[in-house]
């Protein structure tokens, strides 16, 4: 007799809890971006293809389907950490086969050599190159993400990829744990 009472009480309790939870999951639902969008937000949007996918969004979709999160060199260590935090995965080192994390670069066209073929304009994923057929092409430096995609198509190889110059506007203090900085008084040429 007692067993039946006990079973009924527990069942009732479970039903009530279940109902409350169900109600809460509907009433207090928050709109969350689908996971692919969230992953895409964390990627650097250079659309460079170093991860093996044709752009950042395809890679985001691949990550959502279980691909490794360490294939993005422009995102670097910080990017991997952010993805790991979002997806609750372990932080792993950058996959060296995809490339290495280097300082930001910017494309510069050697205008004397440009032949106006528009191949680089078509290649740039963010439309950072200004120009038209048979007319001068130039890179809008502020919009360039340094993805390198313009370099292979250029038939006269007139595009350089120098590092972005460090000025006092974008210079960063180093982590005191990692290094010590001194102002050397010898002038740097």
């Amino acid at each position: 007799m007692e067993i039946i009472t006990a079973t009924l009480i527990i069942t009732l309790f479970a039903t009530v809890c279940g109902a409350l939870l169900g109600f809460a999951s509907i009433k207090f639902r928050t709109e969350v971006n689908p996971i692919v969008d969230q992953i895409n937000e964390l990627l650097p949007q250079t659309q460079c293809g170093q991860c093996g996918h044709p752009g950042c969004r395809p890679y985001a979709e691949a990550i959502a389907n279980g691909e490794a999160i360490n294939r993005c060199p422009p995102g670097g260590e910080a990017g991997i950490k952010a993805l790991a935090d979002l997806l609750e995965l372990d932080v792993i080192a950058l996959d060296e086969s995809c490339g290495e994390e280097i300082r930001e670069r910017v494309a510069v066209i050697r205008e004397d050599e440009c032949i106006g073929c528009t191949k680089c304009i078509q290649a740039c994923p963010v439309d950072a190159i200004v120009g038209a057929a048979k007319l001068m092409h130039t890179v809008i430096a502020s919009e360039c993400t340094g993805c390198d995609l313009c370099v292979p198509p250029c038939p006269v190889d007139c595009i350089d990829m120098p590092f972005v110059a460090i000025t006092t506007d974008n210079w960063r203090f180093s982590n005191p744990d990692h290094s010590v900085n001194f102002i050397s008084i010898k002038q740097v040429s």
Binding site: F173, S174, P176, S179, V180, N181, F182, I183
Partner: protein, 352 residues
């Protein structure tokens, strides 16, 4: 980036501070040797050696520089605190276990100085108390009451061999003139209360007073050391003051409520490990709360728990347990007691 400003510095270093704390323990340590015998001195020496060796051992394993870390005096301080907390004739290997556990598990495994969430000395003490309850409550009686007191040689023999050369054991030295085995006043009163005795009967017992007065002397010596630290601004006033005030208040409330079932507040204040706890143990900077308001809450809560556990718990003294309990709460206390930042209406935490 050491080249970054500022380029001038206030003189006190960590090792200097720790050294001053050890120095401030001197009055208390001397008093303890006087009242409880040579065993205390042996323990201080042994525990210091154990502490430094434990730290050196782990540092070698961790591949860290040994000399700079040992010279910050924090391991030495931990060793000395444990030495002063344990009974004078505790066997050498028990104190070894306690000190090594404190330094290795409660300090170095967390990352060393500054990273431990719990007070290492208290962790070592509690480990010993729980593992060896009989030996850890075998205190010697005050000098004037004891049937006989061990000499230095006998103390060494008792500590290392368990018995003196003429066959006397620890138990023999705990006997009073009439064959009664003496314990600390708190221990005595707890046992007495559980037997149904009243406060007046306990305090009027001729054996209680001299025992109590020796512990009184001990606590006052630690108080002197604590005041020295306070005036030299080594510790902040918030923890000792709030701890002692809260302890006195809680004990007095219970005493007023029923003065036959509870000891008066001032006895609680000056017996057991109250003073050494208030000034030397609870003030351990690494494991205590850091904000001024947080410190007040921390100290007051420890005082409260000391009284509660002493009165209603299973152990006669409760400083170690209370401190460890509040160590757990420290991050939360710190989080909720942050000062109001310049220019904000609240703690500013709403603005990301």
């Amino acid at each position: 980036m050491k080249n970054s400003s500022p380029f001038i510095h206030d003189a006190r270093s960590t090792s200097h501070i720790m050294r001053l704390v050890i120095f401030a323990l001197l009055p208390g340590a001397l008093a303890e040797i006087y009242f409880l015998g040579w065993g205390v001195l042996i323990n201080i020496v042994l525990c210091s050696v154990y502490a430094l060796s434990a730290e050196a051992f782990v540092l070698k394993l961790r591949d860290r520089p040994v000399k700079p870390t040992l010279s910050d005096n924090s391991a030495l301080l931990t060793g000395i605190l444990i030495a002063l907390a344990i009974p004078p004739l505790l066997p050498w290997w028990m104190s070894l276990v306690g000190v090594w556990f404190a330094i290795i598990f409660a300090k170095q495994l967390y990352g060393g100085l500054g990273f431990n969430p719990f007070n290492p000395a208290m962790v070592g003490y509690v480990l010993l108390l729980i593992s060896f309850p009989i030996e850890m409550t075998a205190w010697l009686p005050a000098a004037e009451l004891a049937q006989q007191q061990p000499t230095l040689l006998q103390t060494i023999q008792l500590n290392f061999l368990g018995a003196t050369s003429n066959g006397l054991s620890l138990h023999d030295f705990r006997l009073l003139a009439d064959g009664y085995t003496m314990a600390t006043p708190l221990d005595e009163s707890k046992t007495a209360f559980s037997l149904g005795l009243m406060t007046t009967e306990i305090t009027q017992d001729p054996r209680f007073s001299p025992n109590l007065s020796s512990w009184l002397g001990l606590n006052i010596s630690f108080l002197i050391g604590g005041l020295y630290l306070l005036f030299n601004r080594i510790i902040h006033w918030q923890i000792p003051v709030s701890l002692l005030a809260s302890l006195f208040l809680c004990a007095s409330i219970f005493h007023t409520f029923d003065n036959e079932l509870f000891l008066p507040g001032w006895i609680h204040l000056f017996t057991g490990a109250t003073m050494v706890g208030a000034f030397f143990i609870a003030t351990d900077p690494v494991s205590a709360a850091t904000t001024p308001k947080g410190r007040l809450i921390y100290g007051a809560s420890i005082g409260f728990f000391i009284v509660i556990i002493r009165l209603f718990g299973g152990y006669p003294d409760a400083v170690a347990f209370s401190v460890l309990l509040l160590n757990i709460a420290t991050p939360t206390i710190d989080h909720y007691s942050k000062p109001k930042v310049y220019g904000t209406d609240d703690g500013g935490s709403k603005n990301a």
